[in-house]
Structures are given as C-alpha cells and as structure tokens.
C-alpha cells in the first residue's frame, strides 16, 4: 500500500486533473458542478498522497515526460510547496462546496471551468522550479482569475476586472523582462541552477528590479494595491475568496522563492524597502478598512493590510532567516483560511439581506448565526488573537522583531492588530443589537454556511498545529540551515 502511494506521480495529477477537468466542464456544462466538486476533493487526496511521498522519500522531483532541466520541465516540491499546495487544496475544496450552492445555472457553467483552470495553474505554480514556467502559470492563473472576477457582468465587476487585468499584464510583462535578463546573464531558467550561478551584476540588479516590481504589483503591496479592492469587492463571493486567499499568495510565493534562492543572498536594501512598504500597507489597509461602509470593501482592504504583514518578514530575515520566514508562511496560511472564510461569510450575508451596508447588517447577522460565527472566528485569526493561526504567526514575527530590536516593526505589528480588531468588531457588533426580525431576500443553503464556518474553524485550529506545520515546512530546508537564535 505504502509503496503504491509513493509511486504515483501525485504532482502531475495535481496539475493534469483540474486542467482536463476544466476543459471537460467547458464541454459538458451539465456535469460541471459535480465534476468540479469531485476533482477538488481528489485534489485534497492528491496533496495527502504527495505529502506521504515527500515525508517518506524527501523532496519531490519529477521530470515531466522524462525531459529534465535544462531542456525539459522539472516539477519540484519541498515542505514549503507542499504547504502551499495543501492550503490551496483545502481552501479550494471549501470554495467548491460553497460554489455548488452559490451559483445559478447561468453563471455556474462559466464558473467551474475557469475555477478549475485557476486551480491547475496554482498547483503548477507551486510545483514549478523554473522561472519561465512560473511566468506561464502566473499568466494562466491571472487570465482565468480576471475572467472569474468579471463573471457577473455588472458594471462594477467589469471595471474591476479590467483594472485587475491591466495590472496583471503589466506585472507579468515586467516579470518576463526580468526573466529574459536572468537568462541572458546566466543561461538558465532553473531556479536551482541560477541559485548557484547568480552574481551581483548590473543585469542581475535590473532583473531584480523588474521581477520584484512585477510581483509586488501582482501581490498588491502598497502602493501598488490600487487594483485589488475594486476587483475583490465586486467579484462574486467565492471568487473574492479565492482571489484574496490564494491568488495573491501565489505571486507572494514566487517572490519568496526567488528571494530565498536567488536575490536574497545578493544583499542590498530591497528587504528594507519591502519592510517599509509592508508597514505602510498594514497601517493604510487597516485604516481604509475601518473607513469603509460596505462589508466587501472592508474585507478587501483588510487583505491589503494583511499582505503588508507578509512583507515585514523581509527585513527581519536578514539575520534570522528561518524564524522570520516561518512567521511569514504561517501568516500566509492563516490568512488564506481566515480570509476565504470571511469572504464566504460576507457572501452569505449579501445573499440573505440583499446588501452589504455594514450599518444595516444587524438584522442579517442575527438571522445567520453560523455565518456570524464564521466571520467571528476568521476575525479572531485576522486580529491575531489566540488561539488561532494568525496569533502564532504574529507571535513568531514579534519574537524576531523584538530579538533584533526592530522597534518600528514591533509597533507596526501591534498597531495592525489593534486596528484589525477595530474593523472586525465594527461588523461583529452588529450581531448584538435589538434588531427587528427581517424576512430574507433569499435563503442561504446550509452548505454555504458550513463551508464558511469550517474554513474559519481551520484558521483557529492552525493555532494548535504550529509544531507539525513548522516541521513540515522545514523539509528540504527551503529557508536554508537553521540559525541559532541568540
């Protein structure tokens, strides 16, 4: 049994199944929903299989079609990739369950093929070890995501999607330019090969600037976040969830990988710049979220703030690499679960009440206790209160910041949590008013409420899983050797 599991090329399945599934959904719209649900569930199983494989054999390598690097394509998965794949599979399954109840027929037939395409691209992205391949997966993911954002065809959705597309293409081209320069300089697109060969030279610096700028734009780091709130807020709820939870994490993952292997060792002050931008993003995003009167925009701006947190790890990683990256990864994982839950819960409220004006949400929140609980639990993680994955991430980050005496960052981390509490409770307070009972505009299916609740519960559960998760991420030591903390 064990040997069979370790023999199956799980990594290939993770890419092929959703890709073929997406086309099948397009060809046979009738079975789209059921096929989508089955395939996302198989995705969860495949990640478990891949995890088993990695834990028994170490880092996963697969030369596609028997053609390895430099000519062919290598699939590669270490602990970090595995975790990203796992969170994608889990959040993806939650989103699928939710979507099966959410979409009307007319939108459903368009949603499933695109969603499976995004999933295939995400999986391929996390399994790639080659900067050009990463470009291709980024583009496939980005184009499908844009189409999803425009799904409802409303004015807001279309303009949001257009803005998103332009930002996306600009980011990709900038990235591709950087790839061209790196290839010119070192004759390879394989990350491992590049890591060995790369040296500080004008070409490398230009590549760094182009790739960094492109990815930062795609990750929506302040001040390049302008496209995110309109796109995420005007998309249908499950789409907002997958954009905020997974798609922005993908470009962050690439940035992290390239930093760890190629650009980080070069030195330079870019880490500091990222740290400063991250800090501003935390404050700006949180303040904007506090100001919003519409729930979806509030949640979208909260994403801008939470992305800022991820970038705080860069300046801290200079002397305490492993711990700072652990913190960033933990924050990314928790945010993926919590933010997906939050957007799904928001979708429930919007559907039930027919609007998302925060001030008038009290009647809605009180009729949907499960959804309110989901929002609350997700909020706990976003605020970084214990027990939750967000708390663990924040604790690790604070620990590194304090150990290095980075007081500015310490203040930002704490302040960001306080502001988050402000905007989360702005919504939760609505659960405790003397509201008159209202009659819903549309009932919310149980699957939608439970999908949100279980994802939120996952974010809380992550608060108790730090030890196994952090030991998983260490497989293949993506963050280099463990330095001893003073």
């Amino acid at each position: 049994m064990g040997t069979v599991i370790t023999k199956i090329p799980w990594g290939v399945l993770l890419i092929l199944l959703p890709l073929m599934g997406g086309m099948a959904c397009f060809l046979w719209p009738r079975i789209a929903k059921i096929l989508g649900l089955v395939l996302t569930f198989v995705g969860v199983l495949s990640v478990v299989g891949l995890g088993w494989q990695i834990m028994s054999n170490g880092v996963y390598h697969h030369a596609v079609g028997g053609w390895g690097a430099p000519l062919g394509i290598n699939l590669y998965a270490d602990g970090l990739s595995l975790l990203m794949l796992a969170i994608t599979a889990l959040v993806g399954f939650g989103i699928s369950v939710y979507s099966s109840g959410y979409f009307e027929r007319q939108h459903s037939t368009r949603f499933w093929p695109l969603w499976l395409l995004v999933l295939a691209a995400l999986n391929a992205l996390f399994l790639s070890n080659d900067i050009f391949n990463l470009y291709v997966t980024l583009e496939v993911m980005g184009l499908a995501a844009v189409a999803l954002a425009a799904l409802t065809g409303s004015r807001d959705a279309l303009s949001g999607a257009m803005r998103y597309l332009l930002a996306n293409l600009l980011g990709s081209l900038s990235y591709l330019f950087g790839v061209a320069l790196l290839y010119h300089g070192f004759g390879s697109v394989d990350i491992t090969t590049l890591a060995v060969q790369v040296k500080g030279s004008p070409t490398t610096w230009a590549a760094l600037g182009l790739i960094g700028a492109g990815l930062v734009l795609k990750t929506a780091l302040f001040p390049l976040h302008f496209w995110l709130p309109p796109a995420h807020a005007s998309a249908p709820a499950p789409v907002s969830a997958l954009l905020s939870a997974l798609v922005v994490k993908a470009s962050f993952y690439i940035l992290l990988r390239l930093w760890l292997e190629i650009f980080g060792p070069l030195g330079g002050d870019v880490d500091t710049l990222f740290g400063v931008l991250g800090a501003v993003a935390v404050l700006w995003g949180s303040l904007q979220a506090l100001r919003q009167t519409r729930l979806k925009l509030l949640v979208a701006y909260s994403t801008v703030a939470q992305i800022g947190y991820l970038f705080l790890a860069f300046p801290l990683a200079m002397s305490a690499g492993v711990m700072a990256w652990n913190a960033a990864v933990y924050l990314a994982l928790s945010h993926a679960l919590a933010k997906a839950a939050m957007f799904l819960a928001t979708g429930n409220m919007l559907r039930f009440g027919g609007h998302d004006r925060i001030a008038d949400l009290d009647r809605v929140v009180q009729r949907l206790p499960l959804t309110a609980t989901a929002f609350a639990l997700a909020g706990v993680s976003i605020m970084g209160l214990p027990p939750s994955g967000g708390f663990i991430g924040k604790w690790l980050l604070l620990e590194v910041a304090l150990a290095q005496g980075q007081w500015g960052l310490v203040v930002i981390i704490v302040l960001g949590g306080l502001l988050a509490a402000g905007y989360v409770f702005k919504v939760l307070g609505q659960a405790f008013t003397q509201a008159a009972v209202m009659h819903e505009s549309r009932a919310v299916p149980a699957s939608m409420e439970w999908a949100a609740l279980l994802l939120a519960f996952g974010a809380i559960l992550l608060g108790f899983l730090a030890t196994p998760v952090l030991s998983l991420v260490g497989i293949g030591s993506p963050f280099g050797a463990h330095e001893v903390m003073p």
Partner: protein
Amino acid sequence: MNWNAWIPLLVVASSLLPGLVIFSLAEERVRLRSTLNLAGALVKLALVGWMLWGVYHGRHYETRLALLPDLELVLRAGPLSLLFVTLSSVLWLVTTVYAIGYLEGSPHRSRFFGFFSLCVSATVGVALSGNLISFLLFYELLTLSTYPLIVHRGTEVARRAGHSYLVYTIFGGALLLLGTVWLYTLTGTLEFTPQGFLNSLGEEHHPALIVIFALMIAGLGVKAALVPLHGWLPQAMVAPAPVSALLHAVAVVKAGVFGIVRVVYEVFGVSFAAELGVTGPLAWLAATTIIYGSLRALFQDDLKRRLAFCTVSQLSYIVLGVAIAGPIATIGGVVHLVHQGLMKIALFFCAGNLAETLGIHKVSEMNGVGRRMPWTMAAFTIGAFGMMGAPPIAGFISKWYLGLGALEAGQEWVILVLAGSSLLNAAYFLPILHRAWFQEPPETWPEERKFGRKETAWALLLPPVITALMALGAGMLASAPFSPLGWAQLIAQREFYQP
C-alpha cells in the same frame, strides 16, 4: 495512561463542551439547557474538589500540549491556581442558578448561556495556566467571550459599554502580548516558577525588565481596573445582573488581579521585583485606586454603579497586598481574592433582585426595602459590612492581614490608606442600609412583580443568601483547614520560605 495529566484539561472542558452544545440549542429547550449548565458546573466542582484533595496530599496535575516548537500550552494545578479555580467554580454554580432564574423568558438565552460557559472556561484556563503564553491565550479568550455578555441586551447603552470594554481590553491584551514576547526573547522560557525565573538575568537587562513589568501591569491592570484603566468597569454595569456578578467576582476583574499576582510572584519573584524597585510604584498605584474608587462610589446614586466603583477600590487591596512584598501582606492580598469575590457577588445578586423584583435601580429608591425583601437585604447587609471590614465577616480577615503585613514591612502609610478606605466604605454603604431598614417604604414600588408569599423567586433568593453565608463562614471559620485563609498561608509560605 496517566489520568492526572488530563484532569486540568477536563476542568476547562467541563464548561467548554456544554457551552458549545448550548449554542446549538433552540431557544425553547429550557430544561435541557439548564441541565447541561448545572451538570457542567457540578462536574467541574467535583473535578476541582478531587484536585484540591490531591494537591493537599502532594500530587501533581499537569496537562501539556504543544503550541509552538519551544512553547507548550500548560495547565497546572498548584495552590495558587486552585484557590482561584475553586472560587470561580463555586461561584459559577451559584451564578448559573441565579442566571437561570434571572433570565427566565428573555430572548437569546442560548447565546447568553453559551458565552457564559465559554467565559467560565476561559477563567478556569487563566487560573490553571502554567506559563505566560497559556495565560495570555485564555486571557484573550476571556475578553472575547465576555463582550457578547456585556452587549447582551443590545441597547445603545449596552453597545457603547461593550465598545468601551473592547477598546480597553484589546489594548491591554496587546500590551501584555508585547511584554510577554519581549520577556521570552530575553529568557527563552515563560514557565511560572515560585519566586520567579528572572534572577539569573544580568544587570544590563534590568531597564528592559522594568519596562516589561510596566507593560504587563498595564495590560493586566485594564481588567484589574487599576486607575486610570478602570473606565470600562462602571460602564459595563448595563449588562444583566448575572453578568455583573461574573465580571466583578468570578471572572474578568479577578483574571486581571490574578495575573498581577502571577507576574509579581511567579515571573519576577517578589524579592527580585522589590530589588528592581517596581513594587513601590505598584503599591502607590493600588493605594490611589483604593481611595479614588471609594470616593467615586460615594457620589453614585445608581446602585450598581456604586457597587462597581466599590469593586475598583476593593480589587486594589489585592494588588496592594502583593505590592507590599511581605509574607503577611501576601496572605492578606491573596485571601482577599476569594473574600472580595464572595462578598461582591452577594451584593450584585441583591442589586439584581431589587431591580428584577421591585424595579429599583437607584439608592434613593431603596427606602424601606428591607421590610419588603428581608432575606435579600440581610444578605446585602452581610456583604456591605464585610466590605467595610467589620468582624467576623471575611473582609475583616483580609484587612487585618494587610494591615499587619504593612507594619511588618515597615510601610505604615498603608494603614492610613486602609483606615481611610474603610471609613469611605462605611460612608457609602451605611446610608444604603439605613434607608433599607429604617426608612418607611413607599406606597408602590417602581415596577413590582409578585412571587406569591415569597419575596422573590427561589432561584434569585438562594444565591445571594448562600454567598453571603459563605462570606460569613470564610471569616468565622478562617482557622479551619481548607479555609481560604489556610490556602493563602500555604501560598505565601511557598513564595517566601521555600529554598
């Protein structure tokens, strides 16, 4: 299988699990809900009794769960934890009975009792925490689970009170988190140890330690209602009476004070804290709070507000006892943790009864109420005299040990504070008693409800009477084994005389 390792966890779970089930119950399942609540409370009490017996005979109860690679979630039953756990489990049982009676027929009861149980689970967790990170975890959980109780009624006033509670406590929690992480980066451990674990840190860390102490005291002081961080407490009065009882006696403020006790005794260690020079300012802060709270209480006409400021003042007796940093004062402070709880909960139950039965909310409406509700007012009287420090009620014991401890530590000024505060206590409680017993009752009460020949419902009457009797008993039987005083002596001994 070592069962002793799971008992602390079971103590927490005994209210957590019923709480989670209660959330899912329909509003009209009154009997099932009450059964679950009471069963949870009784199981918890039995488990705590078991641990008391065990610890007395030298057994260890400790649960450890991995939380972070080098940090564990530790629940441990030591003498100090057991003192607080016992207090909150006993009072929880009483409060549950009271709440069932008090909220009969009102809306959102499943929500209320769900959060009520969560709140107690968090408190028990706070009490049993064996290190700072576990403490922090339950401390924040307590904040989150109390908020819905404070805003339970959903009125504009309640929501404002809840908002102010959140602003204070979330901010306090952030400071505590900061202090805790900082401490961890210096020491690499957060385990509560008798006489502290910071002695070994070199001189160069002392300034940082002073700042950490200040951060932690500020973070805990929010819940402990130290002036000027007490603002949320009088506002939170709008909550239903059982919640006030919970806030003032069982859970929230106690968690803050208990945290201060932990930080001073088992993180810094009393002697090391005195060496750092941080206990002096803490004592002054406590003294200020005592006097300020009493003065403000004098001028409140709203009965519950008056009691709230009384809490602000009384809580700082405990802090003062800790800050004097001597063995006898420690006994006084720690034992007041229990005594204040017993007396204050009785007072709040009485205030709730007056409001619920007669519609009385203000001191000025209390004329002759003793004749209409003799049992309630008898319990109130015991509580009030206890607060003033009249023998043989429990409050006297605390003040006696605090005074003796101050003399022993050579801090005579504390006696002045104690005497002044007792006078003020008398000044705001005696007029109430005078009105209640010696003034003519009015023709009609503001909003009277009839309960046959009884003065009020059983579920409302028994809790105040029982808790008042306990306060009386704790004072009269102070020298008996297992009395609060006995435990406090055990705790002080461990802090001061163990090698």
